[in-house]
């Protein structure tokens, strides 16, 4: 109900605005050379990879800029029938949680790994909002390699933001909840005493990228919204915006908007590390899944962790400080120098900019305005560098171009506003179509932005694209920010609903791509390295098919003697050793998906035939002129029948050149 009302209000606001803003149509918004600037000729590459959050499709979508061409959808938190992610036996463990297998999530923010505050092109991290998780995708393979669930959390929103050497990925809870070792079966009106806002610090191994949940900080029960790490001079600190300092628990759009100021919480994570080492944490019994994909076995495993160390911000007074920030702050962005912390009050008509130097001084001089649930509140004036006056309505997020300029998105007034960080003067404004949420400058949250392009990710696209029933495509808009004035270049559709995105010059990633998996390195326990090794093995009612695929046949291509009640595992190894030659595998009536097996890889599809009959299987990915011929049959007999289990390749009477082989029974 709350959500519906919120949406109603925002939709009304944006519609009302549309009416007044409409004259700025495409004719005037786009200048003459826009098409030239986004045209990437056939056969040419885009300049930039743009990684866009998949929102409620749970995936990550990769676009090329400036063309806006969709290059790939990388499955992370949702099953993906296109390639069997979450359906194949190897990838099912990736979606395990303490609640069991979860086939979907709401993916909001992405963050590229950094070294010395600059993008290093190694990994990208993604958050799952609904069932709190953080994932790591390897940018050599564009595959999800690891997912870690977050205990003591709900609504994993201020996530996955990283420190300047990818020491930590953080995750702040949007919903305050009772911690996992408390009884959660409590009245909602006991919110203030029982509910906590927990922030997670996930350590990242420098070499391998492997994640582990290093520690959590238990903070007051407010709603943490977004965050960014300090950098340069502010390295060692992390900043989180929060709303609902009222700790209201009903009709939040009214009751969580009572206070004139909420907070940005500054966290001294170096200090927290010291306390952790000194054993100041409390061990909390809990359960959370830690899932890893091993490239050598091409198989994921899921492990259930049992404990996490939690530091109390209330007890350890000098790890967390609140900086008052008007008014229900959403975005929390740190400029390339690390000095300025920009908060954006969703309901504020100004943009407050905090100074890191002033913040340190205020802490030193104890310029406190009081305490909030045991956490010191710094005086607003003591940390404030200044306010951007009358920038627009509904500021949400700010990115930077490395030339001293900041760009802020305005949801209510549907525009991007460019302003000078030092003088706090507005320099330029451009309309968006419509209701922009996140925005992204290439490298815009690093120490060295690449600049040049800004993309606005919009919530509403009425009248921008061909209509498709009640639901319209979501969209992004590309701006050239290389000059004094921003120039709109392109609209392009995205999966809904896009949130935070990242982008990186293509040169940093392009040449590191894995082109195929070396079959000699395939350590999958059911790999079939060569047709000579293909076989069928029965173990009770389980039948393991060691199958190979190559242009343009499977081996074996016929199997007989499968019975109703059997569980058949097709372990298909793609024998190709060439770039861009995956093979597909599908079988009629399977209540699952297909497999898409990369060159040199082994994937497993589980099939439980329900009826006797002849069941065709085939390759789904066009592989050669004889692709259509890449097929076979599985004969299924009734339970208890005595058809021997046999398999063959090239065994028809008219070309009987290979013997029919009898399967092994173990």
């Amino acid at each position: 109900m709350k959500i519906i009302q919120l949406f109603g209000i925002s939709a009304f606001a944006s519609l009302a605005f549309l009416g007044s803003c409409k004259p700025k149509g495409t004719e005037t918004a786009v200048s003459g050379d826009a098409a030239e600037k986004v045209y990437v000729a056939p056969g040419k590459y885009d300049e930039v990879y743009n990684f866009v959050s998949g929102g409620f499709n749970g995936q990550m979508n990769v676009y090329g800029l400036p063309s806006g061409r969709l290059l790939k959808v990388v499955p992370i938190f949702s099953v993906n029938p296109e390639n069997g992610y979450g359906y194949s036996e190897e990838t099912k463990p990736m979606l395990e949680t303490s609640h069991g297998f979860i086939p979907w999530d709401d993916q909001h923010h992405l963050e590229l790994s950094q070294t010395n505050g600059e993008q290093d092109g190694r990994w990208i991290f993604a958050n799952a909002n609904n069932t709190p998780r953080v994932a790591r995708v390897n940018l050599k393979t564009f595959r999800t390699e690891e997912i870690i669930e977050l205990p003591n959390s709900a609504g994993n929103h201020s996530s996955p933001f990283i420190t300047e050497n990818t020491e930590y990925v953080v995750a702040g809870t949007r919903f305050a909840v009772p911690t996992d070792d408390m009884n959660g079966d409590v009245p909602i009106n006991s919110f203030k005493e029982n509910f906590k806002g927990v922030i997670s610090f996930i350590g990242v191994n420098k070499e391998t990228g492997d994640m582990n949940l290093s520690f959590q900080i238990e903070a007051p029960g407010v709603n943490f919204d977004l965050s960014h790490a300090g950098k340069g001079k502010s390295h060692g600190w992390f900043f989180f915006s929060c709303y609902n300092s009222e700790q209201a628990n009903t009709l939040l759009e009214v009751n969580a908007s009572q206070n004139d100021k909420d907070f940005i919480m500054a966290v001294n994570w170096k200090k927290a590390e010291e306390y952790l080492k000194a054993g100041k944490g409390r061990k909390v019994k809990t359960q959370y899944a830690h899932n890893k994909f091993d490239e050598s076995t091409q198989t994921a495993t899921s492990k259930m962790e049992q404990e996490v160390t939690v530091l109390s911000a209330k007890e350890l007074k000098d790890i967390c400080y609140f900086m008052p920030t008007p008014k229900s702050p959403h975005g929390c962005d740190v400029d390339p120098t690390g000095e300025y912390i920009v908060g954006s009050g969703k309901l504020a008509a100004l943009i407050p900019v905090h100074s890191f130097t002033k913040m340190l001084k205020a802490i030193e001089n104890k310029e406190f305005a009081g305490e909030y649930d045991g956490i010191p509140i710094l005086k607003y004036e003591s940390t404030l560098y200044g306010e951007v006056q009358k920038p627009g309505l509904g500021p949400l997020h700010t990115e930077f171009d490395g030339k001293g300029n900041a760009y802020t998105s305005f949801f209510v007034s549907s525009e991007v506003v460019k302003w000078d960080i030092k003088t706090l003067k507005v320099l330029d404004r451009q309309p968006t179509f419509y209701s922009v949420g996140h925005l992204m400058v290439v490298g815009g949250d690093t120490k060295k932005p690449y600049g040049k392009y800004l993309v606005a990710y919009n919530k509403i696209t009425k009248d921008r694209f061909l209509p498709t029933g009640p639901e319209l495509t979501q969209s992004a808009q590309l701006y050239d920010i290389s000059g004094d004035k921003m120039k709109l270049l392109l609209d392009f559709p995205t999966f809904g609903e896009p949130h935070y995105a990242q982008a990186v010059p293509a040169s940093l990633i392009k040449d590191n791509q894995v082109k195929f998996y070396n079959i000699a390195d395939n350590k999958h326990p059911y790999a079939t390295k060569g047709e000579a090794e293909s076989k069928v093995v029965r173990q009770g009612n389980k039948v393991h098919v060691y199958m190979t695929s190559i242009r343009s046949h499977f081996a074996p291509d016929n199997i007989e003697g499968i019975k109703v009640g059997d569980e058949v595992y097709f372990h298909v190894t793609n024998l190709e050793q060439d770039w861009d030659v995956p093979h597909g595998f599908a079988i009629k009536g399977n209540q699952n998906a297909e497999l898409l097996i990369m060159p040199g890889e082994t994937c497993t599809l589980k099939w439980v035939p329900k009826k006797p009959g002849m069941w065709p299987m085939y390759c789904t990915d066009f592989c050669s002129a004889l692709h259509q011929e890449m097929q076979g049959y599985v004969r299924v007999s009734p339970a208890g029948s005595n058809v021997p289990l046999t398999y063959s390749l090239n065994n028809k009477a008219d070309n009987a050149k290979s013997p029919v082989k009898t399967a092994v029974t173990k």
Partner: protein, 167 residues
């Protein structure tokens, strides 16, 4: 060596273009388009950078860097293992055609360098070599690049020689 680069580069560029055409085309279309492209290539190859050498093929191997004077049984044994993983799906050690032609007799028809060049980097040669063009019309599947490294290619060659009776 410099001359060799001149020869290879323009052909490689052409190979990539025609390879791109190959994938969406179906069997009948690819036959005719391949014929056309082969003719064009031969013309351009001869006019721009000398003749394609059908004895040597296209690639880095020639007499100067591969010594085939002695048969090596140990290498042949390794080559058999490699072939069983990467080649046996389509080629038999007999004369029988499967997806591709049988291997028996190949070392009498082609030079060792031609074989090494072809099996380690098939695509550019399929586009220009007259024998391979004829074979493609029969098999209709372009031989996949199976990512053989130098050692593996050499071992497979030795296995082919063993099949043809080398001792």
């Amino acid at each position: 060596m410099k001359n060799l680069k001149f020869l290879v580069l323009p052909m490689m560029a052409f190979a990539m273009v025609s390879c791109g055409n190959d994938k969406p085309a179906d069997a009948s279309a690819s036959t005719s388009s391949t014929e056309t492209s082969a003719a064009t290539t031969e013309t351009s190859a001869s006019s721009e950078s000398g003749q394609y050498d059908p004895k040597r093929g296209l690639g880095k191997y020639d007499e100067s860097n591969v010594d085939v004077s002695k048969f090596d049984a140990a290498m042949a044994a390794e080559g058999k293992k490699v072939a069983e993983v990467k080649c046996a799906s389509c080629h038999k050690p007999t004369e029988e055609k499967l997806v591709g032609p049988g291997w028996k007799g190949v070392t009498t028809r082609q030079t060792p360098h031609w074989i090494l060049n072809f099996i380690s980097n098939p695509d550019p040669m399929i586009n220009v070599d007259p024998e391979l063009q004829k074979q493609l019309e029969i098999c209709l599947v372009r031989m996949p690049n199976q990512g053989l490294n130098d050692t593996e290619a050499r071992q497979v060659l030795e296995y082919m020689r063993e099949i043809d009776g080398a001792k």
